[in-house]
Symmetry: C2
Amino acid sequence: MDASALVDATLEGDRLALARILTAVENRTPVAEAALRRLYPLAGKAHLVGITGPPGSGKSTLVSALIGAARTAGRAVAVVAVDPSSPITGGALLGDRVRMQSYATDRDVFIRSMASRGHAGGLASTSTAAAAVLDAAGFDLILIETVGTGQSEVEVAAAADTTVVLEAPEMGDEVQAIKAGLLEVADIVVVNKGDRPGAQRTASQLRAMLVAVGRAGVRQTGHPRATASAAELAAAERPRPKEPEVLVTTATTGDGIPELLATLDRHRARGRAAGGTPARLARAEAQVWAILADRLRADLRAPSYRAATDALLGRVASHEVDPFSAADALLAGLRPEKSP
Amino acid sequence: MDASALVDATLEGDRLALARILTAVENRTPVAEAALRRLYPLAGKAHLVGITGPPGSGKSTLVSALIGAARTAGRAVAVVAVDPSSPITGGALLGDRVRMQSYATDRDVFIRSMASRGHAGGLASTSTAAAAVLDAAGFDLILIETVGTGQSEVEVAAAADTTVVLEAPEMGDEVQAIKAGLLEVADIVVVNKGDRPGAQRTASQLRAMLVAVGRAGVRQTGHPRATASAAELAAAERPRPKEPEVLVTTATTGDGIPELLATLDRHRARGRAAGGTPARLARAEAQVWAILADRLRADLRAPSYRAATDALLGRVASHEVDPFSAADALLAGLRPEKSP
């Protein structure tokens, strides 16, 4: 099936066609571009929710519980599980195959893991493109699940309309330190495993920390760079958000899950009332940016440039040429009218 | 001081000037470019060692122990600690200020944390540029320390000449899963906290796992993309490396540290004998790529384009324009001779 037929089938509810488009998106094939050109204008209706947190905070269980709650409310739910376990093979950390079995007969649940194929920015742009496909395919709620321990993964989650950061009660010192970074991107903080001792205390500590840090002050350090992105500038200029709400859930029993769903809805409504979220601009920019980078990379790898590009990179590797001079030379080749 | 004066002072051993250049590199200021244009051709002599592993594996202690062993051997050592704790503020996770105090009187030890300033690929290119500056400044051994839980961080460590992956004995299930991804980039695997029960058993299990997986087979899944980078192609074409050595250390007591240093030296010697490492080509490409992306971004943010760029991104955010059409329009503006 070509891209056009896959898109038609996807819009008619064919889940296999949808899966094939997502595979194309993951592998950045020409089918992905053709499909996205048609599907993207149909997207923009779904609520994109990023869910991140350190290993052991119970993300997978929480996502399963959220799926259940959203289905009870009659919504179609898709999950994009961004899998950082393997930069090379993209092995499945998050066990989505297992999870998917619980919803095997429910066609309004779609779970998909996306491995990143290892070039910078790929993780965010791939998951954003996948979310756009799922959005166009009619899913109302799209959960983007990442392990919140690396910068890329945090960026992926933070590119959603609403970002949920999970914590487990009383985690170790080093994880606490990572937490500080995660909290900065949180719209909603969830202390999961609420049945463990210390859960309420952890929630209280987090609330106190969020108020103390002022959070607004944390958001902006240093000056915007000359090349600051539109999203960065929008973020710098927008009114300071209030501190994120801190909820306690026990995903294994479902305690607190309806409240979490309601809080997600409220956050979305506030974002819409404020005229859309800066996250949407950030996503748009990240997507366009990734495409531009792909185009540039393809130009430099085109038959007419490839040998020159490789020779130049080899001279940079041996420190004969500095990387700035190499970049200038490559750009001059691509844009002859601007060469000196 | 301008870039030229800072470079002169750095080459004369002025550590304050060196620190200022590194700050410029971190903030991507024009001083960084000017300094790197001069320093880069002087670099290429140091051994770059990436050290990564999950939280709790004792990276900081191991790095301190390695510094001690390298100093005993008369080498000048620099540490670039890539700090993923905060995508926004770049808070110091790794406590380098504390560690630095132990070496405050030793001018042949230099420890620096680098926060990533949040755009894709920034982490790798910033730490690579910092390593080049330290290399040119005369440091023999440069340790690039990251928390190996996110893809970006793994990529940073894997861009070194030699990549060391730490494990602690008997870690939890989810961490085990992450480990599989980390192992793929390892040249040397270190089971630290060797005084804990199970350390030798963990090492045996890892050796068995590395042999069983074949590792060579793991390295290559799928076909190189049409736009595969020179480094990717080099990696695909080079002879399969043998399985990484697995060592046991107890960084707190120094047990196994001299053996680790010797193993690092052997790995480097092998890499040189083989005519340089693919890592050097990967680093060169990543640097040039980051610079090209910065140049392109700056072009799109130049006064003559900025308003058009922002308007177009806004239309992508509202789903009026798909991101491919937007990218094409932006490129057409930048490269008028190629527009249709």
